[in-house]
Amino acid sequence: MRLLTEAALLGLASGPACLASCGPVLAPWLVAERAGWRRALGLLSVFLGGRLAGYLLFAIAAGLLGATMPLGARARALLFAAAHLGLAATLVVYGLRPRRGRPEPPLVTIGPARRSWMPVLLGLFTGVNLCPPFVVAAVRAMETGSVAGAVLFFLAFFTGTAVWFVPFAALGALRVAETAATVARYTMLALAAYYAYLGILTLLARLLDG
């Protein structure tokens, strides 16, 4: 119980750092959806589900591998690069494709409709960013000595961070004009370029370091 409380508090304390990482992705995406309150909360849940999936995958790995889990600079950098490249790709697809099943305004007519599992990908790639609080959580999860312990720890940690994301539903509920939604989609494309660059740069730097 004490461990779970510690995990939740660590998650709560990490919230601002999580927001700084995920906010640039979440904000334009939810604005672009123009979803209304209920659907925005649903989309946010799917996104958070993706983040949770990332956390739990890590938790299972931490529980199975224990102290041998590579958390050194090189491993972190490679995972960071992979997550950023995945995020960039998802943002490009999301930014260019209109949503399935809803007639899009004339401003946005590029490409066929996208799948509803894309928010999961967005959540997964933003969740796995291995910031210091995440690393601390991973180390503590490994110290539990079991997969179940690690999973519970990360679940509690995730709950602590997730609290900070709830207000974002208000963005999705805005029902902005189609112009603003289009701007939000272009913003996602601009962000994709930045994340792609970061991912490539990190990958190259690590590969060159050997």
Partner: protein, 384 residues
């Protein structure tokens, strides 16, 4: 620099001189200190600038045309500013690049384009994510407080009109766009107008996430003609390449091909930010539907595509109108008119135009005029 403008009846010379008198007195006041300073170059530069700006105002009043003459001032400012700025950098440092020690010392001059990026981080962390100085110093008079203070005053007076009367970067495109007789690229998709807003959103979000001025580090085309971080690594070399490419593409090539201010209209995030203040600015341009023949001359003439078919049908410009007056100048039916919010549209458009010009030109003389005179002083001093 003549476009196919409508030619309204000219105002009489006497009346034009009378209306120009306040501006002439204002210019004398603004340049009085320079005129009193010993040194021929300073005096001649101040006098030339004063005559130039007052003459342009006189012509704006006499011919009842705004943009036709405003462009001369703005292009002159756009070409002379980088000359003067680079001159000063070379004199001070011997180079256009900013070494790290200067950033640590707080000697980086603050540019107004940073403003949208620093607001949220400042609100949340109470720090300014820019390597400058809050208050002016001997080595950095362009401190953050001074430049933000200037921007606040400019926004109060000009609103988005900053992009037509204040910005010392926009004049380069203005001048280049005016040179060809015809545009080679005439059809431009209206969705490009939305890109500056996306760039603004992206840099605001990323600046908050990275606590660094993202636009300055990665995207500003005008780094090419002002200053940039020392190129000491692959990353800084990539950044320099991006600045140069954007400058050549958006500021030189595309304005030449389209006769539009393409960097301003389709990229500049500060322009998008400044557009927000059009909502509260008292001056605007309106379209009188009963006079309009939908000839689309106004739409074609606008350097930033601030008029669309829908907006003209609604009798107004889009939010990114910078009050340059190009549409009013070109309208043969006097449908496009200057307007003061709250007053009946078309009731006294010339009065609205003059009041706007007194405010805008007054600022232009104070700010742009001082930059023009400063550069001319350096050039004349060099020659003499």
């Amino acid at each position: 620099m003549a476009d196919h403008v409508a030619t309204p009846d000219s105002r009489g010379i006497g009346r034009s001189l009378l209306l120009t008198l306040p501006v002439a007195l204002w210019a004398l006041l603004m340049f009085s200190r320079a005129l009193g300073v010993p040194g021929v170059a300073v005096k001649v530069a101040a006098l030339l600038t004063l005559i130039f700006l007052v003459t342009l105002f006189f012509l704006m009043v006499r011919t009842r045309q705004t943009n036709r003459w405003r462009r001369w001032f703005f292009a002159t400012l756009g070409f002379l500013f980088p000359i003067g700025f680079i001159w000063e950098l070379i004199a001070l440092r011997g180079s256009m690049s900013i070494p790290m020690e200067k950033m640590i010392a707080g000697d980086t001059p603050f540019c107004f384009m940073v403003i949208p990026m620093i607001l949220l981080p400042a609100a949340l962390t109470r720090t300014v994510i820019f390597p400058g100085a809050i208050l002016p110093t001997a080595s950095n008079p362009h401190s953050i407080a001074v430049m933000i203070g200037l921007w606040m005053a400019a926004t109060l007076v000009l609103g988005k009109g900053w992009c037509a009367y204040g910005c010392f970067f926009g004049g380069i495109e203005e001048g280049i766009a005016a040179m060809p007789r015809k545009a080679r690229i005439r059809k431009i998709d209206g969705r490009w107008r939305l890109v500056p807003w996306a760039v603004l959103a992206a840099i605001v979000l990323l600046s908050l996430a990275t606590l660094a001025p993202t636009y300055c580090e990665w995207l500003c085309p005008f780094k090419t003609i002002t200053e940039y971080a020392e190129v000491r690594s692959i990353e800084t070399a990539i950044q320099a390449g991006i600045f140069l490419s954007l400058f050549l593409g958006l500021v030189i090539v595309l304005p030449w091909l389209t006769k539009k201010r393409t960097q301003c209209a389709f990229f500049c995030p500060f322009g998008a930010f400044q557009s927000l203040f059009n909502k509260i600015h008292i001056f605007e341009i309106r379209i009188r539907r009963d006079e309009c023949k939908d000839c689309v001359s106004c739409q074609n003439s606008c350097p930033t595509m601030a008029l669309s078919k829908q907006s003209v049908a609604d009798g107004k410009t889009l939010i990114n109108c910078m009050h340059c007056g190009a549409c009013v100048d070109v309208c043969h039916k006097d449908a496009a008119v200057w307007h003061i919010k709250g007053t009946p549209v078309g009731a006294a458009p010339e009065r609205a135009r003059l009041l706007h010009l007194y405010a805008a030109w007054g600022f232009a003389i104070m700010f742009g005029g001082s930059i023009i005179a400063g550069t001319l002083t350096k050039m004349l001093g060099f020659l003499g």
